[in-house]
């Protein structure tokens, strides 16, 4: 999701949020031309992995081949996303900083240090609470632009799971069912600001009237989940480290992605061993655990 300063984009002649990468980059260039020193078009902290991961998902990169347990980051699709990402830093549209240096994202967004920021729905409430009243009309949210048209985003958030060995599987399942009812999800949103995962709940009047949430509703039509494997946490760190090296010009983009695939393959060694063992143990047709 793109959070953006409507006023700064309008001042640069960008009336509607961009839809394609091409348009996005042009909008950022326009904003940057009007920006003062130490002001940037977009903030993509080098210690956050998800903006880059989302760009990769947008180009259709599988990120990993879960069945063979190998990284797919040096493939052409992710390559395209990575080039677009690095280009934003090289053109000076995004500062090569971590969010430690930003100190307070909301304050800096309010000051116009950056005009766009990629983050999730949990920040809707934060932006409302922390930005001064005068700026409340000046910001908005938009679905992410994509390589060739409205882009996909990452289906983030957490999952409700039932443990296989639990003694209360039925009760747990009933709880999940209850929490997933549209009425409950709408109520949950009213209480906490957490956006509902079920489409039906979006027809709730409070949500339908919520301008900040509307963009999320649209984005939810186009989301992809990330690979659900236990090694994911480490893979995101590896991606972040290699991307930072490339952003700061320590290594060229090609070598960063090759190194990333090499590291990811090593991290997934245990998984490949488990998959091979499961294949050997079980008759064909039954999936791995």
């Amino acid at each position: 999701m793109l959070f953006y300063r409507r006023d700064l984009l309008a001042r640069a002649g960008v009336a509607t949020p961009p839809v394609t990468w091409e348009g996005w980059r042009a909008a950022m260039e326009a904003v940057e031309q009007r920006a003062g020193p130490d002001q940037y078009a977009i903030l993509m902290p080098v210690n956050e992995w998800f903006p880059l991961m989302i760009l990769g998902l947008q180009t259709g990169s599988p990120l990993l081949d879960v069945t063979s347990g190998r990284g797919q980051f040096s493939g052409p699709q992710f390559r395209r996303a990575f080039d677009f990402y690095l280009d934003l830093f090289h053109r000076g549209l995004a500062p090569p900083v971590s969010n430690n240096q930003v100190a307070n994202v909301y304050q800096e967004f309010g000051r116009g240090t950056f005009a766009m920021y990629i983050t999730g729905p949990w920040n809707l409430g934060e932006f409302r609470n922390r930005l001064p009243a005068a700026l409340q009309e000046a910001w908005s949210t938009a679905p992410l632009p994509g390589p060739d048209g409205p882009g996909r985003s990452m289906a983030g958030g957490s999952s409700l799971v039932v443990f296989r060995q639990s003694r209360h599987r039925d009760a747990a399942w009933r709880l999940i069912e209850f929490l997933s009812r549209p009425g409950q999800q709408a109520r949950f949103y009213q209480l906490t600001g957490d956006l509902p995962a079920r489409r039906e709940a979006w027809r709730d009047s409070a949500l339908a009237a919520d301008s900040g949430a509307r963009a999320f509703d649209e984005q939810l039509q186009r989301v992809v989940p990330w690979p659900k494997i236990p090694e994911w946490e480490q893979i995101t760190s590896l991606l972040q480290d290699e991307a930072e090296r490339a952003v700061r010009g320590v290594v060229p983009g090609d070598s960063a992605l090759a190194a990333l695939d090499r590291d990811v393959d090593r991290v997934l060694e245990k998984r490949r061993w488990l998959l091979a063992r499961a294949r050997a143990d079980r008759p064909a047709g039954e999936g791995a655990r």
């Binding site: 430690n100 240096q101 100190a103 236990p230 245990k270």
Partner: protein, 297 residues
């Protein structure tokens, strides 16, 4: 008869020792042995769910750690931290102890409290304040340097400056503790030695070099060893200030171990790192003691 009495005495001795031995066994020997065992397996997140999938890998973890560029990077950063931050801490605490202990000093109690306060403050709270001090746009430090005509330095964002910035924070945070130990030792130096030296015409510098420092030598050795041991385990400062960045320039061995163990759940590998770090710290301590003994001869 006599042997009997001896046996009874030995039994009584063991009985008195038992509580301590049981505690040490349960909370030190067993965990360390289990950790050592763990370091020879690839115990990980899959094995937490099903211990059956942990594989015995022999020295595999140790070999892997030593092959890992990230480990060497973390070790290099840690050695940098110890080699510069250690002497700095001792110098700062020695200087503060000498100042606070000087006969001419006033408000000794106040200064002792002021210098000791950082030790008892919470690192997390302090690091938030320091993050603002170091901030390139709003930070007091760059503001002050600006008055001297020095361009703002992005302390925590520049791979070259991040580690020195963390060292300064760590020295500031820790020197008060060693200062307290040194003050106690200074108060034990007999006043007559200074008087005799003054009568012989020794100046302040000569008294420091020929009386104070030799008298402090055992304490300085102790302080040096605990400082170095503490600094090899530096974790909290980079963890809260930079999370190891930028460009992994503030990643330390313990931070790396924490990531391997508790973020990525390679517990076998993490315990192997712990034992390697233990060996390094043991070696560093032995070297310090050897140097000290050499100096005494």
């Amino acid at each position: 008869m006599r042997a009997d009495w001896r046996g009874a005495q030995a039994r009584a001795g063991w009985a008195f020792l038992a509580p301590a031995l049981i505690l040490i066994g349960a909370f030190f020997v067993l965990p360390v042995a289990a950790g050592l065992g763990l370091s020879f397996t690839d115990f990980d997140i899959y094995a937490i769910g099903d211990p059956g999938v942990a594989r015995f890998t022999g020295a595999g973890n140790y070999a892997q750690v030593l092959r890992e560029p990230e480990f060497w990077n973390a070790l290099r950063n840690t050695l940098y931290f110890v080699a510069v931050g250690g002497p700095l801490t001792i110098l700062a605490s020695l200087a503060a102890a000498l100042l606070v202990n000087d006969r001419r000093a006033r408000w000794k109690g106040l200064f002792r409290v002021v210098f000791f306060t950082p030790v008892v403050t919470t690192l997390v709270a302090v690091s938030i304040v320091w993050r603002y001090l170091y901030h390139p746009h709003y930070g007091l430090i760059d503001e002050a340097l600006g008055l001297l005509g020095i361009h703002p330095i992005d302390w925590l964002g520049d791979p070259h400056w991040a580690m020195p910035a963390i060292m300064v924070l760590a020295v500031w945070k820790n020197f008060g503790y060693t200062m307290l130990i040194l003050i106690a030792a200074l108060q034990n130096v007999p006043e007559e030695l200074y008087e005799a030296a003054a009568l012989d015409g020794a100046g302040g510098w000569a008294r420091l070099v020929y009386i104070t420092l030799p008298a402090l030598r055992p304490t300085l050795l102790f302080v040096g060893i605990i400082t170095v041991i503490g600094q090899f385990q530096v974790f909290a400062e980079p963890y809260v200030m930079t999370q190891g960045g930028p460009l992994r320039s503030t990643a330390t061995v313990v931070l790396y171990m924490y990531e391997q163990g508790f973020r990525w759940w390679h517990l076998g590998l993490a315990t192997a790192i712990a034992f390697i770090l233990f060996a390094i710290m043991l070696a560093a301590t032995l070297v310090q003691m050897r140097l000290q003994r050499g100096a005494e001869r």
